[in-house]
Point group: C2
């Protein structure tokens, strides 16, 4: 993987120093990861205040190291050293510069104001939800938006402010490009949803209702995670209210899940989702450990991995053709009398719903479109904060055909905006699109994957993802990674064809029965 | 607790800056505590290498903050500010200076050599144990001793080198004083042990052999810990191979224990021991959080708390008069037919044994005496490394009347010396002595504690310990703390009288039947 270019004189020592400093910064990030993991899993309640202080201390030390005068000198010298543009060394320096830039561009005053505003808006959001009163949140949201505009201006952008925010989560992405892709999604997915709701076929997820005892679910998803390739020697699975994957280092990537005794799907697909994120981090080339490249390429690519294992594998018929007998053995009372076809349909019910986190494959992107359109309009000032609930409900009516009865199930449902996460939502949909592009590229190289997946052999697929996605860490930008792995740039076509094919069969939609 | 002295001009700002810096240093110590706790509890095996790097990074950052030029300036300025000698502010500066001194006196070269020697000697120790061959360890022990002499010289001392090492664990203690106290212990405890082995009474611990299922033990010790006052809202109890207490902050003090299905005493008294340590940290005045005083006064005082709860409370008759019925209910099959008196005797069997960690109250200090005498002789060069096994065995014969058949159960049994812990062992015995001095002082103030303990009311005792020991953190040196709490200096008398009284009754020793 390492080229051996002609180096500028003195280069080696500077590069070594840069890597040593980056390693310490990486350690601090991993320590922060553990502090956060522990807070959500085993920390006693009384530890909360102290934990906040510990996190602030580590974060401030990390920021100081990231933005030190010496780091500036090292980056400038290494950039002047004319590293071959495609070398791993150049990528290290590029990512070092990116982190330095993000950390130095925002004045301390703004960083502190954003932290305070996030804390206060989050509190207001909780209160607004409790009271089901959007007005309690509107003022804080307005203040947050003003600060995010300042942030965008400080970071810099060429076309529109939103790009500066989006870039933090999806390096190099632009709102204009996202808009083009999303408009194609909107049209097709709205039509597909209409076809499904108009279909005479009705699927039932009654089989998932159980009750399913949590302990038995835990045992099952533990073995499920191991079976698809999650390495428990370099990770662990715990229970939390909100599932997540957290990297404490490339050899310590932990996941959590949640058990809903009345809905088996929560743990099954939640676990596979986090396993997908964790496989990415566990698959990064060990040679990149503790370097600026020791993490995923961006949130979109990361989400492509979680969605691939959750949906393209986990909600596929071949997967359950292989795995269903084992699931029945784990839950004989609940599933002994449910046949495979009924179960497969149960985990693929598609219907319009109000809450993003519970959405199926057909509707998920529509929830994202609503948020993307509204957050770009809010940031640009084209939508007033007071008009958000109306605009939200209008779009749900247009895209999903239903309207929330209250703002708790409407524009107050996600925490993201309250803590300043603008530009984050699109990565969920971008991940969906990339998941199918990558899966199809893997099948082009490996041949049809149904048979190995049916046989419980995930090695070929995981191996391909390791070689083409995971191993590289953040060496390549998301578009470059996608191009190298699939030979194509971001494209909504494959995802839409996949949806149409799968749900056409499930809902007996005539028009698409012939699609290949 | 805070005096309000006249400050030197500019004092307040310097003091604030000093406290802010100390808070960050304290946070880093707590973060290191979590890294260590996690390593021993939930970290996946693969995380070990990365964890080592994270610990090294945090430790090096902490060291740099502790020894920064600015810290030197602050300490010098605050020392020149003529703080009232008994104020809490003066204690803060004193402890800051102590930490600074320890961290700056050793040259980096020596610190690194000690770390390397510790790692290599520890490995040699493991191999020597596996091969039951002391010679595989002797060379490494010799190198470690040479480095510890260098360390003592760098730290400085007035009388003997050993004092410089002892001071790290027991601030202000001197080998000469320890020697005086220990010689009194030796004579009395050897005589008591002789009386017990000569007694016609034999106690049996057969009732502890079970088997006791681990899950039932876990449930019981969880409730036991809560009952004596351990605050689970600010702590938690997990299982590890080697039990420990670890502070992640004053509101997050975690303990671990171990379950031996063939020996109920392991979990019962191991848990109470760690609870004792944890009650100390949980009881430190919240106002001292994140300051240089936010930890115990020294290892001896710390051990006095663990031994007090383990032995003076946990192995007492009044305690089991109150608690035994509950224990029987938890283990009806194992203890339903065992009466209180039999159980009380079972947990107080005294007999000479070879292994310190399994020693009873009568013999524990004798194990410590052997180690103290040998480590002072080794450090002074009065005992050659090659002669250690012989000297060890001779002393076991003299003090305990038995001799190890091999060095694994002899001078290779403890890890301490291999990792450079010289001067650490005496604190175990000092803790035993102080535990009785403190307990008797509590009874002088509160009256006899048997009745409340029998009634399961540990509040009076814990309250007294909080006020007189815990709350102060490291505001006072160990001798000062002991003086304030008990009105006396360190004294072997109370402990020896306690042993003679308790075991005189248990073993029907005529000479002491009359003692009050």
């Amino acid at each position: 993987m390492q080229a051996e270019p002609e180096y500028a004189p003195g280069y080696e020592e500077l590069y070594e120093e840069f890597l040593a400093e980056a390693a310490a910064i990486n350690d601090l990030g991993n320590v922060a990861g553990l502090l956060s993991w522990d807070q959500d899993t085993y920390m006693p309640a009384g530890g909360a205040e102290g934990r906040g202080q510990q996190m602030a201390t580590i974060s401030s030390i990390r920021h100081a190291r990231l933005t030190s005068p010496r780091m500036a000198e090292l980056l400038a010298a290494l950039e002047a050293a004319d590293l071959p543009p495609h070398s791993v060394e150049a990528a290290m320096v590029r990512e070092g510069r990116r982190a330095y830039g993000r950390a130095t561009k925002l004045p301390t005053r703004l960083v502190e104001e954003l932290a305070r505003a996030g804390s206060s808006a989050r509190q207001a959001w909780v209160q607004a939800r409790e009271a089901n009163d959007y007005r309690l949140f509107a003022g804080e949201l307005g203040r947050m938006l003003a600060l995010k505009r300042e942030e965008a201006d400080a970071v810099g952008y060429t076309t529109e402010r939103y790009d500066a925010l989006l870039d933090e989560y999806e390096p190099g992405a632009r709102a204009a490009d996202v808009r083009v892709v999303f408009s194609q999604l909107r049209e097709d997915q709205v039509r597909l949803l209409g076809d499904i709701t108009g279909s005479s076929v009705t699927l039932s997820d009654a089989a998932l209702r159980g009750p399913y005892p949590a302990a038995a679910q835990a045992a099952y998803v533990q073995s499920l995670a191991a079976k698809v390739g999650y390495d428990f020697r370099r990770g662990r699975l715990d229970e939390t209210i909100h599932p997540f994957a957290e990297s404490v280092g490339l050899d310590d990537v932990r996941i959590t899940t949640r058990y809903d005794t009345d809905n088996l799907a929560t743990a099954l697909f939640g676990t596979l989702h986090e396993v997908g994120h964790a496989l990415y981090e566990q698959g990064i080339d060990p040679g990149l450990a503790r370097t600026p490249l020791a993490h995923g390429a961006g949130l979109g690519v990361h989400e492509s991995q979680s969605r691939l294992w959750e949906n393209l594998v986990g909600r596929s018929l071949p997967f359950w053709e292989g795995a269903y007998r084992g699931l029945q053995a784990a839950f004989p009372a609940q599933l002994g009398g449910v046949d495979l076809s009924t179960f497969y349909r149960a985990v693929n019910v598609a219907h319009p719903s109000l809450v993003r986190t519970e959405a199926d494959e057909v509707t998920y992107n529509l929830h994202i479109l609503v948020r993307f359109e509204l957050e770009t309009a809010l940031l640009a000032g084209d939508l007033a904060v007071t008009d958000l609930p109306g605009a939200w409900n209008e779009r749900y009516r247009d895209y999903l055909g239903i309207e929330p009865a209250n703002d708790v199930d409407g524009c107050l449902q996600d925490i993201h905006w309250s803590v300043g996460l603008f530009g984050y939502f699109p990565t969920y949909a971008l991940g969906n699109l990339m998941s199918v592009q990558l899966y199809e590229a893997a099948e082009r190289e490996l041949g049809d994957l149904d048979a190995p997946i049916r046989a419980g052999d995930f090695g070929p697929l995981l191996g391909w993802l390791r070689r083409n996605v995971h191993a590289h860490g953040s060496r390549y930008s998301p578009p470059e990674l996608l191009q190298r792995a699939t030979g194509a740039s971001l494209d909504a076509g494959p995802y839409l064809r996949y949806l149409r094919g799968k749900f056409g069969r499930l809902y007996d939609l005539q028009a698409t029965q012939e699609s290949p």
